[in-house]
Amino acid sequence: MRISRWLAEHWVLGVALLVLGYLFLPIAVVAALSFNRPSSRLSYDFNEFTLDNWRNPCATSEMCEAVLRSVQIGFLATVVATVLGTVMAFALARHRFRGRSGLNVLIFLPMATPELVMGTSLLALFVSGGVPLGFWTIVIAHVMFCVSFVVVTVKARLTGMDGRLEEAAMDLYAGEWQTFRRITLPLVLPGIVAAALLAFSLSFDDFIVTNFNSGTTVTFPMYVWGAAQRGIPPQVNVIGTAMFGVALLLVLATSLAHRARAGGQRRPAP
């Protein structure tokens, strides 16, 4: 009786854990392979445990250059897209003006367009404009598809914010700039940070658009793609695992810090 009732209420959790297992399965493989000494270049089987790959992640300098390049591109694209997108989100959330709905469509469309189409059309533009493909064309392309996501994320945060808080600040002697700096910005910052993280991860992991607009420049996903044909060096898995670990730690640390801060004040003073 009790067991069936418990099951009825908690079977969803069981399903959820199974799905999470499914999500983590390939990560586990990547992590395992990062400790593998492959028997041959094209073998993906686990052969022998080793720490060599972790001790020496840059065995192929080509790969580490690609990682570095991806980080640079990701950083630049994130900064530009976050600035452009945040500013647009403010305009859209705070002002009524002609052409709003047209603009909303312009922002929505890139999200509804397959990456492939964006990649090919940009390629056509660069080729016909005689723009040499490379680092900067990748940055331009990444900014383009990140901006919409930034706008949507920041705008959601802004419209969810109580406009009366800003009025209260003005009522309490804060001028426009002070109100922005002390009230609006701190309250919207989580949204901006989330948008920036999203933009970085989109940029860092992008293959399709990059593949069309990179010329001979190699980013990390492109390196992996190329290596997949020739045999992947196990250090690639080190990078993949490390990225995963860093992301996990980062997010966990912030949420723990958040909880600690909130938990310390939960109990009211007597």
């Binding site: 493989v29 003006f97 056509a124 419209t159 109580d162 997949a228 993949g240």
Partner: protein
């Protein structure tokens, strides 16, 4: 076209309170000033290329990169492209559709469990959904290749329990491609869905069961309709990239599983047939937009499942 205004919100929030009254006259040009750089970027690197692509799709197919193309308004490129590649076209929507159903079956319980049942573990579980995205898309797909390979443990297990014939395989089959699509875009479905379900008021569910609704009825009549915004956003964020994807077919399938993305990719990068690639791109985009707007029109009024 008012639908886009609320479509795929990554965090899924809805507007809550009106913006403070803008002072008339004071900031008349400010919004345009704020919008200009971003809008210009999108116009220059999204709209203009699309228009150009539209033009390219009407080039004389007899031209080539070296000899140059002439804009001859050859609308024939479209039926020609469709005729040559309709199997891949159909396959894209077919695979993405099946993957969507699978993803909904997995993603809904997951999002629901995290939002409503996980209690203090909520954040940790949410992180677990996002974290895999930080390992490269390609690496994860290559990992699936390892998992599904003919001498891997999964195939062995399935052969042992006779779910697969003695020389049945997973890799290089449609199953592998659909599995890869489901896997790769699942977080895009779960996140908006979670945002919707998280705001779902527990008391509504209690009220519903108080009013004699069975758990199933409660789900159909209360939970599902209230999670509709997240479901819509998630479905779109899943379906759009899945339809246009070609990496899963490339890595986990064979040319027999190729989707339209593979064809476009090779048209541009291998065969260098720009008019055909452009025509296919446009066909894909308009097909997706048609599905999207058809879906958006019905999403609010009709049960999806």
């Amino acid at each position: 076209m008012s639908a886009p205004a609320h479509v795929p919100t990554a965090s899924g929030e809805q507007p809550a309170s009106p913006a403070p009254a803008a002072r008339p006259g004071r900031h008349r040009f400010l919004p345009y000033l704020l919008l200009l750089p971003g809008a210009a970027w999108l116009f220059l690197f999204f709209v203009v290329p699309l228009v150009q692509l539209a033009a390219a799709s009407l080039y004389d197919p007899a031209g080539s990169l070296s000899t140059g193309y002439a804009l001859t308004w050859s609308f024939d490129n479209y039926p020609a492209a469709l005729q040559a590649y309709w199997p891949q076209f159909g396959r894209s929507f077919w695979y993405a559709g099946i993957a969507l159903v699978l993803a909904l079956l997995m993603g809904y319980p997951l999002a629901y469990a995290i939002a409503q049942k996980a209690g203090r573990w909520k954040h940790l579980l949410l992180v677990c959904v996002i974290a895999p995205m930080f390992t490269s898309f390609l690496l994860r797909t290559l990992a699936w290749k390892t998992i599904l390979s003919d001498n891997g443990w999964l195939v062995g297990l399935l052969r042992d329990v006779h779910l697969l014939g003695p020389d049945g395989r997973l890799l290089a089959t449609p199953v592998a491609v659909v599995l890869g699509l489901t896997y790769n875009f699942l977080p895009f479905l779960v996140l908006p869905l979670y945002a919707s379900l998280e705001r779902l008021d527990r008391r509504l569910l209690e009220a519903s069961s108080d009013l004699y609704a069975s758990p199933l009825k409660t789900f159909r009549r209360v939970t599902l309709p209230l999670s509709m915004p997240g479901l819509t956003a998630g479905t779109l964020l899943f379906f759009i990239p899945a339809t246009g994807d070609y990496l899963n077919a490339e890595l986990l399938g064979t040319p027999n599983e190729y989707m339209i993305g593979n064809v476009i990719d090779s048209a541009f990068l291998v065969r260098l047939d720009y008019p055909q690639g452009a025509a296919l791109s446009f066909l894909l985009m308009s097909a997706i937009l048609a599905v999207v707007f058809g879906y958006l029109r019905n999403a609010g009024t009709r049960d999806v499942l």
